[in-house]
Amino acid sequence: MSEPTRNDWPLYEVFIRPKAGLDHKHCGSLHAPDAALALQLAREVYTRRQEGCSVWVVPSSQITASDPGDKDMYFDPAEDKVYRHPSFYTLPQAVDHL
């Protein structure tokens, strides 16, 4: 990461676990001088109403994302693979709870 200039605090992405047992979910971003303060600020900005019980912050510059231009190429191949879903298989009623 490049050294932040005077006014330019780096951007962090914020992930919140809404309650014990659930996944952390992306909920937004914020600027902070470092990770410790990013955590503190994330609590103030994103969990004022008990929206979470755990917070992750990740420097935005550290995230590698798929290219939206590649969306079709990436995800369409799964479209015609219906046999990957349980509903593809018709079974006798007696064992249909499988």
Partner: protein, 333 residues
């Protein structure tokens, strides 16, 4: 709080498309809009769509931040500890709303520093409602009821805005906004039902002063709106200024009855044929005067923002110096 129909910027001509490739991209973009597919930050978008959103979202963010000032004025003088904690929570929410929105605007390629510089230099606009003073405690409740009520009316359709980062921020904001409106109404109701005559007079006075500026929050009439048609085409603005304003008036008439206050408009009456309330003419000269910088508190609000920013500089510097020191230590270790 508070987008006012934020199409009060200068009218801009769209640039002619540069190439056949760009025309094809724009056709695909339009098709996505028509299909209701949300647009994300890294998707291709027309330059004018990006510019329109940066202007609207940053103006909206500025409004949240400046919107803390009129009510912040009453935090130290709230009548009870209960009202004080409620007001603190509400003002903190407005700060949070500003931050969600600045982040949403940044996904479009503008920086926080650029946006703040535009606000502090007076170049950027914010909702003109905040250039009115908060003269009594009843103003706090009235802002919750009318100003936040108008804001909710404006903002709920924005949760379906075609630009997804903005729409997601609006979902969070609308969820929190409901508390703002309800606490305001309840505060007024308490004064009207259990207060003294002086308190009831104070509530009526606040309603008299905030009613018309609240109606102006929906922005200029559709016929004069500079960006309305294009924003509608792009799924940025789903319901017109005048339709939202009418919906707000209709809702408020009933709420005013429950409160026992009079809305300061002699022309306000039910129109059976339209199925809506008719209301008197809005003083658009006043609206444009306040938008243009000549409202009762424009200078005071901007000065307060700039002062807060300047006086916080040492805190920001110290936080960065601390972060750098620790980064250096970790590298050395």
């Amino acid at each position: 709080m508070y987008t006012q129909a934020m199409d009060t910027g200068p009218k801009e001509e769209r640039q002619a498309l540069r190439s056949a490739e760009e025309a094809a991209l724009e056709a695909r973009f339009d098709a996505r809009i028509d299909a209701g597919t949300p647009i994300e930050a890294k998707d291709w978008m027309p330059a004018h769509y990006r510019k329109t959103l940066v202007r609207q979202i940053s103006q909206h963010a500025h409004s949240e931040i400046v919107g803390m000032l009129p009510e912040g004025n009453w935090i130290t003088r709230a009548p009870t500890l209960k009202r004080k904690t409620i007001l603190l929570a509400k003002v903190q929410d407005e700060a949070g709303h500003g931050l969600y929105l600045y982040s949403a605007a940044e996904t479009l390629g503008t920086s926080r520093d650029e946006m703040l510089a535009a606000l502090h230099s007076g170049k950027a606009k914010y909702s003109s409602i905040f250039n009115y003073p908060t003269l009594s405690w009843a103003d706090v409740g009235t802002i919750g009821w009318l100003v936040d009520g108008a804001a909710i009316m404006n903002q709920v359709p924005l949760t379906r805005c075609s630009y997804a980062p903005y729409a997601r921020a609006m979902v969070r904001i609308c969820r929190e906004e409901s508390f703002h409106q309800r606490q305001g109404f309840e505060s007024l109701l308490t004064m009207m039902q259990h207060g003294t005559d002086a308190q009831r007079t104070m509530v009526q006075d606040a309603v008299d002063r905030w009613w018309w500026p609240s109606l102006m929050m929906f922005g200029p009439p559709d016929a004069e709106s500079t960006h309305g048609a294009q924003s509608a085409r792009w799924g940025i603005k789903r319901i017109s200024n005048d339709d939202l304003r009418q919906k707000f008036v209709d809702a408020c008439v009933e709420q005013a009855k429950v409160l026992g206050v009079t809305l300061p408009d002699p022309a306000l009456r039910w129109n059976e044929a339209r199925g809506h309330h008719d209301f008197g003419p809005i003083d658009w000269a006043e609206f444009w005067r306040v938008v243009g910088g000549d409202g009762p508190c424009n200078k005071e609000r901007l000065d307060a923002r700039v002062k807060a920013w300047d006086e916080g500089a040492w805190v920001r510097d110290a936080a960065l110096a601390h972060a750098r020191k620790h980064a250096t230590k970790e590298q050395a270790a």
